[in-house]
């Protein structure tokens, strides 16, 4: 005889309970004074023996009943004589599904849950014969056949199992069961068994579905993470647009405390290129989330690799999250202007020394579409009229993703109308008397970030004697206004690109701004700090294919998180026929990464880009596991046996194959014993009632 729940044998100690009650109740007999014991003594000698015998019989029956119930809970399995009732087939087809999703990385008392699962696989394998057809399928969101053979070789299977580690993906148990059943369907054996060794994460099973009747017998072997809290870093959002050196990068970090009753408190670290730059103490209430925003200045240019991490808990897989930042070195700007463009040129490239802007200058008269090829932005300045042809080039440049800074001047009116749309009404005014000033903005817009409060106060006192008065611009597009209410700076998206308009006339005669110290930073900010608000970047997810768009000069290569180099597929479609950098963009199709880290996209000798890869910790970090029965029900399994963690797997398999669990029989026997006890007790009660009648 085996026991599926041998731990429940400890409940046999409960047999002592009736005995203790018996002893205790004997001690608590009340004392009753009585006039004389003469007549009692005479009767007592005869009857007490019978009373004691009956009492002993009741005690024994109660102890027997409790013992039977305790044994029933231990789930004994009878073999031997009963085995003949369950003939065993000579050989069978067995498919073992082993969960390798990232939730199996949970650290339990006995080590990683996955290693417990591997132990269970070994226990299953120990009960297979050489004639059996066996497959071992590893599954997470996909399936991989680790072993499959019509002639079972135990050593080969165990040898391959030893090298397996859990993956970084979530679970799709339904698909795994389908794959296992597909294997069994193909087998010629009549006896088919499906072993599912998993933590049965709720997120990996989904809703209950009906499945067709299945001939195979399923064994559900749960391996549990056990009780304990888990705090996960769910997302780290980074700015999608490239930063410029010295700018503050802002990360938005979402953390979740998956414990229902325990508050989480831990230090959170931000690492940049291996160095810790920020550490914050975080506290999250039970079951709650916390969105943490951190900012830090970026000095280094190029691609920056970073990591957000917290102290490891029981599931270390979701305690780190990678991110990337791109810090641009210089912006390639083309200034198109006439002879009045001197001040503008000085503002963009003071003294001919390049800062954040790499400037080329072109006269309106010499301008061709080829000039736009290497430019990221174009500044349309004073001193010449744009031809209709030029306006067409510039419009296409913007629509294909370029940026344009347009000074609203009389000579550029056709271009302004082309890029700004039909509705703005423009009037170019010279103040005969008086002047305009800028309306003081509320707060500090991104455009004026380099300005402190005193600078802004000084800027709004600057007098303009000549400016364009524009109406019809949507209020939400206006970044700064004149005190008359007409727009001073406004912006507009056009195709994939962006246009910034300003009513500044960049010559000293037009007002005090051109020769003020604020002209240079304001013009540079108009190029650097404006642009469409892109959604923040979350990086890529393990197991999902990654796409990357960009211009490439050579055949690109990818270094995957594991260090593997591969050549990604390109979709081969050129887009954007304008004069955008590289003459257009290509899309790289990068295969799904299998582990967290960074994908580095290499174009010739240069790093073209970096992508952070993380697990999808929203899937399994809650460690919400289903019970075996519930999982079987959700998966639509009918012929199944759940072998719980404490259960003897060998006994469970034997139960299903050849033995019979006799818990029900024991429960019935216990009921019979208790009924017998009740009958005897009732007889005692009746005797008492009868004697009362005699009285």
């Amino acid at each position: 005889m085996n026991f599926l729940n041998p731990l429940f044998l400890l409940s046999l100690l409960a047999v002592a309970v009736p005995l203790l009650i018996h002893i205790f109740s004997r001690r608590r007999v009340p004392e009753v004074p009585f006039s004389t014991l003469r007549f009692l003594r005479r009767s007592d000698r005869r009857s007490m023996k019978r009373v004691n015998l009956r009492r002993l019989l009741l005690l024994l029956l109660r102890m027997l009943g409790v013992m039977l119930v305790a044994l029933a809970f231990a789930r004994p399995v009878m073999r031997g004589g009963l085995a003949a009732l369950f003939p065993v087939a000579g050989s069978k087809a067995v498919c073992i599904l082993l969960d390798r999703s990232y939730s199996m990385r949970v650290e339990a008392d006995e080590g990683q849950v996955f290693s417990q699962a591997a132990v269970r696989v070994r226990q299953v394998v120990d009960h297979l014969g050489k004639q059996d057809e066996v497959a071992l399928l590893l599954f997470d969101e996909s399936q991989e056949t680790l072993y499959g053979s019509e002639r079972f070789d135990r050593d080969v299977l165990l040898g391959s199992l030893g090298e397996i580690v859990p993956s970084w993906r979530g679970t799709d148990l339904r698909e795994a069961v389908s794959a296992g059943r597909a294997f069994l369907r193909k087998s010629r054996h009549e006896t088919k068994e499906l072993f599912i060794i998993s933590d049965f994460q709720r997120s990996g099973i989904g809703r209950r579905t009906r499945v067709p009747a299945h001939p195979e017998r399923a064994f559900l072997v749960p391996v549990r993470p056990g009780p304990g809290a888990n705090v996960s870093i769910e997302t780290v959002l980074t700015p999608r647009a490239a930063l410029h050196g010295g700018e503050v990068a802002r990360l938005s970090i979402l953390l979740r405390n998956n414990a229902e009753h325990k508050k989480a408190r831990f230090p959170l670290e931000i690492m940049i290129d291996g160095s810790r730059i920020i550490e914050k103490e975080i506290e999250i209430p039970p079951g709650g989330t916390r969105e943490e925003s951190v900012g830090f200045p970026v000095e280094k240019t190029g691609w920056i690799e970073g990591k957000v991490r917290k102290r490891s808990d029981r599931l270390p897989a979701d305690d780190e999250r990678y991110f990337t930042l791109r810090v641009r070195e210089k912006m390639n700007v083309l200034l198109i202007s006439g002879d009045k463009g001197f001040y503008l040129e000085q503002a963009l490239c003071p003294g001919g020394v390049e800062g954040d802007i790499s400037l080329r200058r072109k006269d309106w008269a010499d301008f061709t579409s080829a000039d736009l090829d290497r430019a990221e932005a174009v500044v349309l300045g004073p001193g010449g009229g744009a031809l209709r042809r030029d306006a067409g080039f510039i419009e296409r440049f913007v629509r294909s993703g370029g940026k344009a800074l347009v000074f609203v001047l009389p000579e550029l009116e056709p271009l302004v109308r082309l890029l700004g749309g039909a509705s703005p009404r423009i009037e170019f005014r010279l103040m005969e008397t008086g002047f305009l000033t800028i309306e003081k903005p509320h707060g500090r817009p991104d455009l004026l970030l380099p300005f402190n409060a005193a600078d802004i106060d000084a800027l709004v006192r600057v007098k303009f004697r000549r400016a364009a008065a524009v109406t019809g611009v949507p209020a939400e597009a206006v970044l700064l206004r004149f005190d008359t209410g007409t727009p001073f700076i406004w912006e507009k998206s056009l195709g994939s690109g962006h246009v910034v308009f300003t009513a500044i006339d960049p010559v000293p005669e037009a007002g005090g701004l051109t020769l003020s110290p604020y002209f240079l930073p304001l013009v540079q900010q108009l190029l650097l700090a404006t642009g469409p608000e892109l959604p923040p970047d979350e990086g890529a997810v393990v197991g999902n294919a990654v796409t990357w768009e960009g211009p490439f000069t050579a055949e690109p290569l990818c270094r995957m998180p594991g260090g593997e180099m591969l050549k990604p597929r390109m979709d081969g479609v050129r887009r954007g026929k304008g004069s955008h950098p590289g003459g257009g963009e290509r899309t790289l199709l990068i295969p799904p990464p299998e582990s967290p880290g960074f994908i580095t996209i290499i174009d010739g000798q240069n790093v073209a880009g970096r992508v952070a890869v993380n697990i999808d910790s929203r899937k399994e970090s809650d460690l919400d596991c289903l019970g075996g029965e519930e999982a079987a029900d959700s998966l639509g399994l009918e012929n199944f046996l759940v072998i719980e963690e404490g259960d003897n797997l060998a006994a469970g398999i034997a139960t299903a194959r050849e033995g019979r669990e006799i818990s029900v029989l024991l429960i019935l026997a216990a009921i019979a014993v208790f009924v017998l006890e009740l009958v005897i007790a009732q007889r005692k009660h009746d005797a008492a009632e009868e004697s009362r009648d005699v009285g």
């Binding site: 009340p30 004392e31 006039s35 009692l40 004697s691 009285g695």
Partner: protein, 301 residues
């Protein structure tokens, strides 16, 4: 029984009487209530003192018919005389520890004391001389016979101060009293008779030998007859302190039979020796006990 008699009988219930503080009042309540009941009852006719003329009832003895009134009125009237006998009555009251037992109402000793007080009151009202002996292992208190009213107060005070004693030795007390009481008379034994029955009968025979008439009031608690206890209990003997653990429901049948046999034996032996035996439980109203006494008294007259 009429409604009025029912109400009077209610007043004679032991638990009602025992609520009164004063023994004199208690005795008076019992006796007066009893007598008041008698006037309306079939027992009317052997009242204790002259009372009245009353109409003759058919079937009644013609001995007391007042013929003078018949001559005058042509109606039969009965004249009830005060009894003028001078009987010596000795009350023997058992105060042993076994008498200090109750299953919920009054204790046997309390009941016996009240009964004793009522009898004393009744006897003195009849001008009988009453003596009292209280005993347990031996005679503890002995009050000689007197018939005056002041003696009644002495008796009642003695009874009021009574406390339970120790073990019982009824036969020894009976023999002692039989030797002491010279003049023949009525002996009233009020006890639970929890002693060796043979020796008790020997003591009673001693009285009979001296020519005394004997009335026994055998006081028992109802539970002593039924052993109506629930669950397992440990009985403690009031006199010896001995303990016995038992399942009463299991012993009950044998116990009841044993007690019944014992009582039957006592009844039979009393009958053989012309002793008036009255079994009374502490639930019995006092009028029934007094009627028993008066029956005996009438026979003695």
């Amino acid at each position: 029984m009429t409604a009025r008699e029912t109400r009077l009988s209610e007043f004679l219930r032991p638990e009602v009487v025992s609520r009164l503080a004063n023994m004199d009042l208690r005795a008076r309540l019992i006796v007066e209530g009893f007598i008041a009941g008698l006037h309306r009852s079939p027992y009317h006719g052997f009242s204790v003192e002259f009372a009245e003329f009353r109409q003759y009832n058919a079937g009644e003895s013609a001995r007391n018919v007042d013929w003078k009134i018949y001559a005058k009125t042509d109606r039969y009237y009965v004249r009830v005389f005060e009894d003028e006998t001078n009987l010596n009555a000795t009350l023997l009251l058992d105060r042993s520890a076994s008498m200090d037992f109750t299953s919920g109402g009054v204790t046997k000793l309390r009941y016996a004391t009240l009964l004793c007080a009522a009898l004393s009151y009744l006897m003195i009202r009849q001008r009988d001389a009453v003596g009292l002996a209280v005993f347990d292992e031996r005679v503890e208190t002995l009050i000689p016979h007197r018939s005056v009213r002041r003696h009644l107060l002495h008796l009642l005070r003695t009874l009021d101060d009574l406390t339970p004693g120790s073990r019982t030795a009824i036969s020894r007390a009976l023999h002692e009293m039989a030797d002491r009481i010279r003049r023949r008379g009525l002996v009233v034994l009020i006890s639970d008779l929890m002693d060796d029955p043979e020796s008790i009968m020997n003591g009673l025979k001693h009285f009979r030998h001296r020519g005394h008439e004997i009335v026994i009031f055998h006081i028992l608690d109802p539970i002593e007859l039924s052993l109506d206890y629930r669950g397992e209990v440990r009985f403690v003997d009031r006199e010896t302190g001995e303990k016995l653990r038992a399942q009463p429901w299991f012993l009950k049948k044998d116990y009841v039979r044993n007690v019944h046999d014992w009582i039957s034996w006592l009844e039979l032996r009393c009958k053989e020796n012309a002793i008036d035996y009255n079994k009374i439980t502490t639930e019995t109203t006092f009028d029934q006990a007094l009627v028993n006494y008066l029956n005996k008294r009438r026979r003695l007259r």
